[in-house]
Structure formats: structure tokens, C-alpha cells
């Protein structure tokens, strides 16, 4: 295989394996200008390993399918430029660690879809006017940029290290709930869901999720912290607790 544009060769260490185990396998890949990790994975599929499992769709950071860990960092492979890695050193590509492996770079992310089902859905307030200003929805539109790559879920140590999937919905779904809670037409109150089911109290705002978000959503500052405040106001405000007791609401 001749190398065009004198781009040279890259060395990739790609994880190959399934639930029963596996290891990194080394591949040499010719480099073209502007090449991304996903291009290299496709090249390996076409030339060496037709059975190399990988998810991808748009190749332009719009669908959030090709999530993996490149040199240990959660990233979209379609956005990871080869020329951003040090020349001459192998690049490791591994599946997301937080989710069970299916094969090679493909993991079982179905847990996320189960969490999504449990979120109280969009419920418009009856009789409200469907007119609002752009500035009223700028913030919610930020949340709705989410492409569900689940990199924030992958990096979140509540899920990754402490494996609390049964107690904690994860940053992706706090972003989704924030989008619903701040929607100008929505009338549902999701604070009890956030406290009792989504486990928002477990987040200790290390901002790892914000750092890996390919859509640059300010997950911690704009979604999680305001939601935590809503939960605190609703359930932990001493005056409110007294008031609720006095009026028989609690």
C-alpha cells in the first residue's frame, strides 16, 4: 500500500475481544492528511480485519455513535485527528469502560435507553400561549444539542468507578431533565424523580462530564447545578419544611 501525500504510517493498538476476554492488537495504517481515528479503524476493517466491530454513522460528530477511549481519553473517533497525537508513538483505541463489552469497540449501552424511559415525559401546561422569545430557549437549546454519545456517562466516576447504575441516571439524563424542566411550556415537576430515582445527590460536581462533551454543553454548570438547587429548594429548605408541615403538605 503506497502512502499518499507522504503522510507516513501510524501504529494503532486496537482492543479486540468480547465478554470472554481480549487484548490490544497492533495495526499499521497509512496516514492521509486530515485523517481521524475512525478512518484508521475503517482502513483496518477493509484491509486486515473485516470482523472488527465498531459503531459509526455520520462521520461528522452529529450522531454520537463512534464513542471510544483513545489513548485513555473518552472521545468520538470521528473527531479524533491522527495528527493531534505524538508521531511515532502507538495510539491505543479501546471501548468505553463503563459499559459491558459486546465485541471490540462496541459496548452494550442499552442501560441508557432504560433510564431514558423512566424520565417523566414532556407535559405542556394546558392553556399556555405557544409564543416565546429566542432568549427564553437559548439555554434549553444548549441541552438539546446532546447527541447521546454517552461519553459523559463513560467518564462519570459515579458510574465508571463506583458502578452505581442502579441508583444514578448520569450526566446525560440530567441534561435531558434540565431540557424538560427549563422548557417554557413544560408543567411537570421532576424534582422528586431527580432526588429519589435519578440520584442527583451522588454527583459531586467534578465536571469530568463537561470536559469530554463533544457538543461543549456546560453539563455541570448549566444543567446539574441548577437541578441540584431545585432539589435542595424543594426538599431541604428548612423554612419550606416547616411551612409544609404547618400546612400539612409534607
Amino acid at each position: 500500500m503506497s502512502v499518499e501525500h507522504g503522510g507516513g504510517e501510524a501504529l494503532l493498538h486496537v482492543y479486540r475481544g468480547d465478554a470472554s476476554g481480549g487484548q490490544e492488537v497492533e495495526y499499521r495504517v497509512p496516514v492521509e492528511p486530515g485523517m481521524v481515528i475512525l478512518d484508521a479503524i475503517h482502513w483496518i476493517q477493509a484491509h486486515h480485519a473485516p470482523d472488527l466491530a465498531v459503531r459509526w454513522n455520520c462521520k461528522a460528530a452529529k450522531c454520537g455513535s463512534c464513542s471510544a477511549e483513545v489513548n485513555g481519553k473518552p472521545a468520538l473517533m470521528c473527531k479524533s485527528r491522527m495528527d493531534h497525537f505524538p508521531a511515532g508513538k502507538p495510539i491505543t483505541v479501546r471501548p468505553m469502560k463503563t459499559f459491558p463489552i459486546i465485541k471490540d469497540l462496541v459496548t452494550d449501552v442499552s442501560w441508557n435507553y432504560e433510564i431514558n424511559k423512566r424520565i417523566p415525559p414532556f407535559s405542556p401546561r394546558p392553556g399556555a400561549s405557544w409564543r416565546w422569545q429566542q432568549s427564553d430557549v437559548d439555554r434549553v437549546q444548549e441541552f438539546r444539542k446532546c447527541i447521546e454519545c454517552f461519553l459523559c456517562q463513560d467518564v462519570c466516576h459515579v458510574l465508571r468507578t463506583h458502578e452505581l447504575k442502579h441508583q444514578f441516571a448520569g450526566p446525560r439524563f440530567f441534561v435531558r431533565v434540565a431540557g424538560l424542566e427549563m422548557h417554557p411550556m413544560d408543567g411537570e415537576d421532576r424534582t422528586r424523580y431527580l432526588k429519589d430515582h435519578a440520584g442527583i445527590g451522588l454527583c459531586n460536581i467534578t465536571k469530568c462530564c463537561t470536559e469530554v462533551c463533544p457538543e461543549n454543553i456546560a453539563i455541570t454548570d448549566n444543567a446539574i447545578i441548577p437541578l441540584k438547587e431545585r432539589v435542595v429548594d424543594r426538599f431541604y429548605d428548612p423554612l419550606r419544611i416547616l411551612w409544609d408541615k404547618a400546612t400539612g403538605k409534607s
Binding site: G34, M35, P50, D51, A53, A60, A61, C63, G64, Y113
Partner: protein, 606 residues
């Protein structure tokens, strides 16, 4: 004999983009049991990549707009090969479908008086595209996805359907495999809705993802349904041309809608040269007039200035760029310059955020400071499964189709923005009609076990072969064949050569071999995709040979003009025995009241 996991349903929807989701939501609302199958994870279908907007005559920005003008624009854009009734339904119903999306939680960009904002797009007389920056498709699929999920629709993710099953003439279900395990699965279903999208992976330079392998068209064809208008493949004028890894990736028409100017390597704004004489009066005559139109557009005010020439229809702009490059006026990487850097940087970033990031991160180009380089890329197929305009029923009982997989709405060329509206208008109709059909069916159709076993055997054959080439090589050969012989400009000789090459590629695909286990095996999956791609490539090529004229997206160098006779027929493709037959069907006659809409337009303008 292998045992199969079996699901029994009233309606099976194949494909979970906008059309499939909307069909499933509608069928489920009608109270029948619905299964929704998709090849990727939910929410990753091609709809998510749609950028510019959804066309609907809401008349929020240009109060002169109405369904009649949208209807006329769609018919003119499609060179009158569209089914008039589909174009009428589409224009009349799309405003309601957009409002419905909003009521389900979608947040479109707003006008200053708080309503849904609309932007200009090629071929649309008025500003008509409801949008969310340049990520309209994401907003739409997420809205539909959440609506469907909360409605309790069963979604089978990463499942590929490989054959439709029949009981006599009727649809009885489908068989496929789980991508994860490679195990087979049978869906017994009274009705099937095909919403599988397009065929772009038949070409090398394409804006389409791996999923676009013509599954729905091929499944329907093999089940005996007719395809129509297959010669009309849309080459989007603006795909990225550099770097090589992203060649073909879409650059939204929204860039031109927001004021993007096309220039060749000499700095010439060339689109004026390519405006068709009959429609020249609709476009600005000078740079000054185009600028006035843009300024009014930015300020949200009314103007008598006409739109810039870059907003000509997609077929025309694609040919213009291709011609500029071929005649030696291309950019360093073989495209045209598309420039929006003359506008304030914050406006560009706000209206086109994903384009800004896409170019900055993938091509090292800052579009607020430099022009983009763009060129035509395979984007969409106007043709597809022939359907009844009101019910989306295909020519096989129990089979329905909607969205890109269906034919009829767009005729010879689709206008930008008419695809997202197509999905929700006809997705809803297909879902309703399929539910209706399933309810009225006296007994569940019977699935023939022999048919199931034969398909399973066929699917496993690539593992059994002791020799044969990798499917990736065959795919590459197919894409090169279609790029070279059945591309944007076509001639008899090339098409004939393409057809004979396809015959050889078919043989090669039939002998492709894979190794390993059935667990998540992309190479094995590609073997089945190739069957589908080859069927549709042949349909495109045979139809292109027969249409000896140039119309819409189909450009014949050897027949550069429109032919009056061919302007009155659609080409239909069907399987007869083992052969592919192409026949003509007269385009349905438009009623007088719709014909009349095309006459007074000029007087209104003048």
C-alpha cells in the same frame, strides 16, 4: 433445523428515522401492536444528520406564503414528474406536522414576535424552513424518539431485516438478524412499513452513512413491489472535498440560505451563468440586489429584492459546480469556494454552529474567516418504492413505505427542506394506513417455514465458502463503478459499461467470503448490504439508460434537453421472474384547480 426467536405483531416498522418513528407513533395511537426495528441504536438514523430545516408554509416570516405556493415550488422543482396528489398532501399537511412536533417538545428557533422562525432555501419562493440552527434533524429525531418511547413502542435496536415474508400475495412478516449476536429473528406481522431511507452507499462520494444500503427498496423489489423514478439520484451541491477522510460529508444548504456565496478559483460568482432562463426572473440580477435581500433576511424585514442565485435548485447548483471544476476553474482540492466569512462571525456561529465546528475540527478551516471548499456529493434518491399517495401503500398488499424509501413526492429533484416534512407527513399516513389494514385483515397471515429456513441458509453461506474475496473489495468496486458511470452527468456508453460491470460485481458479491463468528461482524453484514446495493444500482442504471433526456437531477450529456413525451411518464422497475424490467407509467393528470395555480403566479409578481 435452526429454531428462531419469533415476534408477533400487527404492524412492523422497518427503520427508525423520522418516517419510521412517526409511522410507529401513529400506528400505536390507532391501538394496534407495533414493533420498530432499526439497524443502529435509536436516534442515530440519518434524520439526525439533517441540518437546514423542515419546509412548511407556516407563513410566519413571509406572510404571502401558503400551501399553494409550496405545492407549486415542489412540482416545479421536481420538473412535474412528482405525483401531484403527494405534493398537494405534503404542502397542505406539513404546517400541522411542524406544530405537532412543537407540541411534543421540539424547540425551533424563534421570530422576534415569538413564533417559529423560517429561513430561505433553494427553490422555495418564500422563507419556509422551520429550523434549529443547523441541527434541525437532531431536534426532530429526539422529539419523535422520546414521544415514541413514552408511548411504549417496542424498539428492536441493531437489528437488520434481510427479507420480507409473504403468504401468497400478502405480506406475512420479515426475517432478519440481531447485529450483536448474529442470531436470526422472525417477525410475524400483518403489515410492514418500510422507512429505511436511501441508497447513498452505492456511491463512493456520499453524505450518507453505512446504513444507507438500499435495504427497503431491495426488500420491496424482491417481494414483488414496484420501484419508481430510480434514475433520479440527488447529488447535493455542497459536500466537503477535503481532507480525504471527510470527502462527501454534507455542508448544509443553510449556508447558502444564510447568505453563502459560491465563487470559482478566479473569484467569479458563477451561479448567475447557470440560472435556467425560465426562472431567471425569480433571482436577483446584481450583487447589490442579492445583498439587499440578505440584509432584509438578517433583519427580518420585507423587501422587493429577489433571492441570490446560489438559492437555485440543488440539481442546478450541483451541475454548475461540477462544470466549473471540469472546465478548470476549480479550487485547489477540486471544488468551489463557498464563502460566508463576510458576515459577522457571531452570526455565523449562531446560525451555523455545527458547520463552524465541522470545518474547524476536521478541515482546519475557520468559516468565519475563510471560504469553504465544496463539491457535489451523493445525497438522496427521489425514486423508491411506488406508493399510493393517500395511504403510502406499495403495490404488494400489506406493504407500506414512507420517507426517502418511497417515490412520488419529489419527482425529478427534491427541494431542500422537503425531506424532513415528507418524513412526518407520509410517516403518519403510512402508520395510519398500515394499522387500518392490519385491523381489517380477517386472520393473521401464515409464515412459510421453508422460506425462513432458505433465507437463513443463504445468510450463512459466506461463512461456508473456503475461498472468495472480502466484501469490502467488492463494495469498493461497486462504488467506483457507480461514481464513474452513473454519476452526475451520464451518457449511453458509460451507462452500458456500468451495467456490464454491475453484472460482474454481482458475481463477485455472490462469492464473497467471511471468517470468524457471527458476533457483531461488520464484514458479514456487508455481504447482505451488497445484494441490496447491487439491485438498486442496477435499477438506477437501467432507468437512466431509458430516460433519454435531461430532467431534474438526471443529466444526459447525449440528450441535454427535456423530452416532452418523457416528461409525461414515470419509469417503473419490477422483478419479472429473475429479470429486472423497466416500464413506463403515465404521470397522473393534475386536476384543473391545481393546474390553475401555475398560471396567475407571474401576474402576482409583476
Amino acid at each position: 433445523m435452526e429454531k428462531f426467536e419469533t415476534h408477533e405483531l400487527d404492524v412492523l416498522v422497518i427503520g427508525a428515522g423520522g418516517a419510521g418513528l412517526r409511522a410507529a407513533i401513529e400506528a400505536s395511537t390507532q391501538g394496534v401492536s407495533v414493533g420498530l426495528v432499526c439497524k443502529s441504536l435509536l436516534g442515530k438514523a440519518h434524520t439526525v444528520m439533517a441540518e437546514g430545516g423542515i419546509a412548511a408554509a407556516l407563513a410566519h416570516v413571509d406572510p404571502q406564503d401558503g400551501w399553494e405556493t409550496h405545492f407549486c415550488d415542489t412540482m416545479k422543482g421536481g420538473s412535474f414528474l412528482n405525483h401531484w396528489r403527494m405534493a398537494q398532501i405534503h404542502a397542505q399537511e406539513s404546517p400541522d406536522r411542524v406544530r405537532e412536533l412543537e407540541q411534543w417538545g421540539a424547540l425551533f428557533d424563534r421570530t422576534t414576535d415569538g413564533r417559529i422562525l423560517q429561513r430561505a432555501f433553494g427553490g422555495h419562493t418564500w422563507k419556509r424552513l422551520a429550523h434549529v440552527g443547523d441541527r434541525t434533524g437532531l431536534e426532530m429525531i429526539r422529539t419523535l424518539q422520546d414521544r415514541g418511547v413514552h408511548q411504549g413502542i417496542e424498539v428492536c435496536m441493531e437489528c437488520t431485516i434481510t427479507r420480507l415474508l409473504k403468504d401468497g400475495d400478502r405480506i406475512a412478516g420479515a426475517i432478519g438478524y440481531w447485529r450483536e449476536s448474529g442470531r436470526f429473528v422472525v417477525f410475524k406481522a400483518k403489515a410492514v412499513v418500510i422507512a429505511t431511507g436511501g441508497v447513498g452507499k452505492a456511491y463512493r462520494i456520499t453524505s450518507n452513512s453505512w446504513e444507507y444500503t438500499a435495504d427497503g427498496q431491495a426488500l420491496a423489489y424482491l417481494a414483488g413491489a414496484e420501484l419508481m423514478d430510480m434514475e433520479f439520484v440527488q447529488f447535493h451541491p455542497t459536500g466537503m472535498v477535503w481532507p480525504p477522510g471527510v470527502m462527501g460529508i454534507l455542508v448544509t444548504e443553510g449556508v447558502r440560505g444564510e447568505g453563502g456565496i459560491l465563487r470559482n478559483a478566479n473569484g467569479e460568482r458563477f451561479m448567475w451563468k447557470y440560472l435556467p432562463e425560465a426562472r431567471r426572473h425569480e433571482y436577483a440580477e446584481t450583487e447589490e440586489e442579492a445583498r439587499r435581500w440578505l440584509d432584509a433576511s438578517v433583519e427580518g424585514t420585507q423587501t422587493d429584492a429577489r433571492r441570490p442565485p446560489e438559492l437555485s435548485t440543488r440539481d442546478n447548483v450541483a451541475r454548475a459546480i461540477y462544470t466549473e471544476v471540469r472546465e478548470g476553474r476549480g479550487t485547489p482540492h477540486g471544488g468551489a469556494f463557498l464563502d460566508i466569512s463576510y458576515l459577522p462571525a457571531d452570526r455565523v456561529k449562531r446560525k451555523l454552529p455545527s458547520m463552524y465546528h465541522q470545518f474547524l475540527e476536521l478541515a482546519d478551516v475557520d468559516i468565519t474567516r475563510q471560504p469553504m471548499e465544496v463539491g457535489p456529493t451523493t445525497h438522496y434518491i427521489m425514486g423508491g418504492i411506488r406508493v399510493d399517495p393517500d395511504t403510502a401503500a406499495a403495490t404488494v398488499p400489506g406493504l407500506f413505505a414512507a420517507g426517502e424509501a418511497a417515490a412520488g413526492l419529489h419527482g425529478a429533484n427534491r427541494l431542500g427542506g422537503n425531506s424532513l416534512s415528507d418524513l412526518v407527513v407520509f410517516g403518519r399516513r403510512a402508520g395510519a394506513a398500515a394499522a387500518d389494514y392490519a385491523k381489517q385483515l380477517p386472520a393473521a397471515p401464515r409464515v412459510d417455514d421453508g422460506e425462513v429456513q432458505a433465507e437463513a441458509h443463504d445468510l450463512l453461506a459466506p461463512f461456508e465458502r473456503s475461498q472468495g474475496e472480502t466484501p469490502y473489495d467488492v463494495h469498493r468496486a461497486l462504488q467506483e463503478c457507480m461514481d464513474r458511470h452513473v454519476g452526475i452527468f451520464r451518457v449511453q456508453e458509460d451507462l452500458e459499461r456500468g451495467l456490464s460491470e454491475l453484472e460482474k460485481i454481482k458475481q463477485r458479491a455472490a462469492g464473497a467470503r467471511v471468517e470468524g463468528s457471527r458476533l457483531y461482524h461488520p464484514g458479514w453484514h456487508l455481504v447482505r448490504d451488497l445484494r441490496n446495493l447491487i439491485i438498486v444500482s442496477e435499477a438506477i442504471t437501467r432507468s437512466a439508460l431509458l430516460r433519454k433526456e435531461s430532467r431534474g437531477a438526471h443529466s444526459r450529456l447525449d440528450y441535454p434537453n427535456q423530452d416532452t413525451g418523457l416528461g409525461k411518464v414515470n419509469l417503473c422497475v419490477a422483478k419479472v421472474g429473475e429479470d429486472m424490467r423497466v416500464s413506463t407509467a403515465p404521470t397522473p393528470e393534475m386536476p384543473a384547480e391545481l393546474k390553475a395555480l401555475f398560471e396567475p403566479v407571474k401576474e402576482k409578481v409583476g
